[in-house]
Symmetry: C3
Subunit: 319 residues, 3 copies
């Protein structure tokens, strides 16, 4: 790492200062987040699901793109750590008044925010914000454009480790619209960082980024060979707007070739787990029987997601 | 009660597990809620309006149909019990992404929710959700379609008992659009459950459900005879959309025949109380003089509504 | 003050009961708010930014006109005082159901609210509400029509005192669309109340209220003479809708004559401070170099704004 090119996620001591992307995040930090999340799972199962770790801290959910689901996971994680949470749907207000993104952020910083959870339709928005906040403010990327969604990838890692114990002998397949998916991009970086030896992507050519192999993945265009002997199947959400576009003939066609059915799943290892970041399109990228089946760990992903977000927040707050 | 047809509101010990409807709710549970609510009224009048009963609990206001007013009553009740509250306007987000209602609920359950307060335009939505959540999650119906609005009926009972002492000798008249009103339906079940001997409905034929007598009410089509000697007058809100429809000639016509004026009220008992669930259409179903008059208990209803919702939440949480 | 014309902001003992406008607010109360705010600045800089002063109090942000930014400042101030905060965007709900403003407020009052923070597009809305709430409920005007925005004016005073020490020898210029600005109106009253000897307004004739001199200000139509030797420059936001109207030729024209540039600022005192209530239109009413320059105190205004709102709330709550 050259001087002047320090990772914007890390402080001068190499500690996590912002969580912006999985790309380049050191493995020891990833494992530290996963280890920190573990005890938080049991907190969320207690009678009183509350810890005082972030008491008196102000966390702003800064959503330039609406997402009730993601906002809720961060809100509930922050509240269980006793933080004060303020939700801002910024699209509706200051932005429409012509204020710039950085002025909005500078203003909220001046209110002595401690953390921004940022969701934005533009790739790079969270990085931009992280580059302009005061030194004691931490930024968490909750999804920026097609770029990254690191807490999703971290909860996926947590889920895989929970069910598989260890990453070092796994075959993981990511299936579907890799091209438009910030989730897929973050998952690929996450899986290679923790040492998963074989990461596959399965998709039609039109739904793959160019040069995707350079990320260290193996490319498959059909499920029968792509799913063979894998330990983990990660299905991606097929966004509705893609189905109408030129990239796909129809949702039915997609389901026929790439929708995960029990039949297609049979070539995977018998103890393979099935994951999905949600929200699911049942009957498009995944069959209902599989989504609710014995191999599905889709709901545990959600549970672990709260614990992982609590871990990220408490690490950023210095605990 | 036959095996396999256990009331979905009660657990195996016959205790309240969900609050979905007044229909079939045992009288002892209704009275338990009313008794529990009583001390909460004084809590809301204290300097520090806060009790730690629900500390560390996560309550989700799951509003598939927007209602700032109802959401606020539950939010303030939950916060006064020290719960963490998350507001979700679901129409705007996941639902539009094609996720099913049950997937949305399964997701939120996986975040270790403790309680869902559900508002939905479809009758039966709260029952459906209650039938699919984990055993330790409780559902409160905050209004589903034309079906039920049980906390409104409970706060009405509380108000009546507060002013009349006891239910066993009362005549209660419910006036207006019974046909489209979940409030009226819940009130009728509530009043008969606690033993009110005479429940009347007053409305034009077009605004009454067929076979409404089977619910145990007396039907009147004019105010002069319907209000005679009643102890309690409950006015229903006339929804704007009805006024344009074929069911009613006009708001003016409705007011002439069914709007509560001081003159019409004179046939009721001199100490009769006047109630309304709000929001009121002054000059449509109720005259301003009556709404603000000495017999009106419309604002105390709101106050008691907070206490009743606190009672329901604390009972569901096991206190 | 004649009997029957008591200031609606003060109680019978002359203490602050509501904060509605700077007009007529006694200087001793203004200074009491500024003095109370001072220690709150350091609270917002602590590790645990929280005081228990408003624990168990219910504060309703009652926004009939959306403003994420202003709502956020009150929300964060209230939460740092440990209050329970409920946000209501009233435009979207009850109002559309035909309920009157006063019925909405009566309802929320019946929930035992302690404070209403009111934003409304109609001048006088906060006064109207204050005139109808129960005696133990306090109203804070967070902006009503073109009338007043008193907490903005108070934070401006706090900022000026912070940088200039004392008001008694200052020249302050307010620049821009005074005509449509509730902020300007409140600033003028605030500055004259605390004894600023010279308050100037600088604007084209079309953006000045008639008889503005009667408020005790000196009128200038050009920056070169208006800014000469001033200690404080307060820029106003130029609302986009004005730029299209008949009142202004164009945003470019406005910037040319009234936009604050470093060149124009040179006639002010060398230690003059530059203020703006936000959100800024860079390149319209203010040059970016000035907005981010060494004389700008625009972000400290935001920081002090939280402390000032905490002060107002804690004084109203009786501390």
């Amino acid at each position: 790492m050259r001087a002047g090119h320090r990772d914007p996620q890390l402080d001068a001591n190499g500690e996590l200062n912002h969580l912006l992307t999985m790309e380049g995040l050191p493995a020891e930090i990833v494992f530290h987040i996963l280890d920190t999340a573990k005890p938080f799972v049991s907190v969320t199962e207690r009678e009183v699901k509350k810890l005082p770790l972030l008491r008196g801290k102000s966390i702003f959910n800064l959503f330039f793109e609406p997402s009730t689901r993601t906002r809720t996971t961060f809100e509930i994680a922050a509240k269980r750590l006793s933080a004060d949470v303020v939700n801002l749907n910024v699209g509706a207000s200051s932005q429409s008044k012509g204020e710039t993104l950085l002025d909005t952020v500078a203003n909220l910083s001046a209110m002595h925010a401690d953390m921004f959870v940022v969701r934005h339709a533009q790739s790079g928005a969270a990085h931009l914000i992280a580059g302009h906040v005061a030194p004691d403010i931490h930024v968490i990327n909750a999804g920026d454009g097609r770029h990254a969604h690191p807490t999703q990838a971290l909860l996926d890692l947590f889920t895989i480790r929970h069910y598989k114990g260890d990453f070092s002998r796994l075959r993981v397949a990511i299936v579907g619209d890799v091209l438009h998916s910030r989730v897929a991009r973050s998952q690929i970086h996450a899986l290679t960082t923790v040492g998963v030896p074989e990461v596959r992507v399965i998709a039609p050519q039109t739904l793959l980024p160019r040069y995707v192999e350079r990320l260290g993945v193996h490319v498959y265009h059909d499920m029968a060979s792509g799913l063979r002997d894998v330990d983990v199947v990660i299905m991606l959400r097929l966004q509705n707007e893609r189905m109408d576009g030129a990239l796909l003939p129809s949702a039915q066609e997609f389901y026929k070739y790439y929708g995960l059915t029990e039949e297609k799943l049979m070539v995977a290892r018998p103890d393979a787990i099935v994951m999905h970041p949600g929200p699911m399109n049942r009957g498009v990228e995944i069959d209902s029987g599989v989504a609710d089946g014995r191999q599905s760990v889709i709901l545990p992903q959600v549970t672990f997601g709260i614990a992982v977000r609590m871990a990220v927040m408490s690490i950023l707050a210095g605990h």
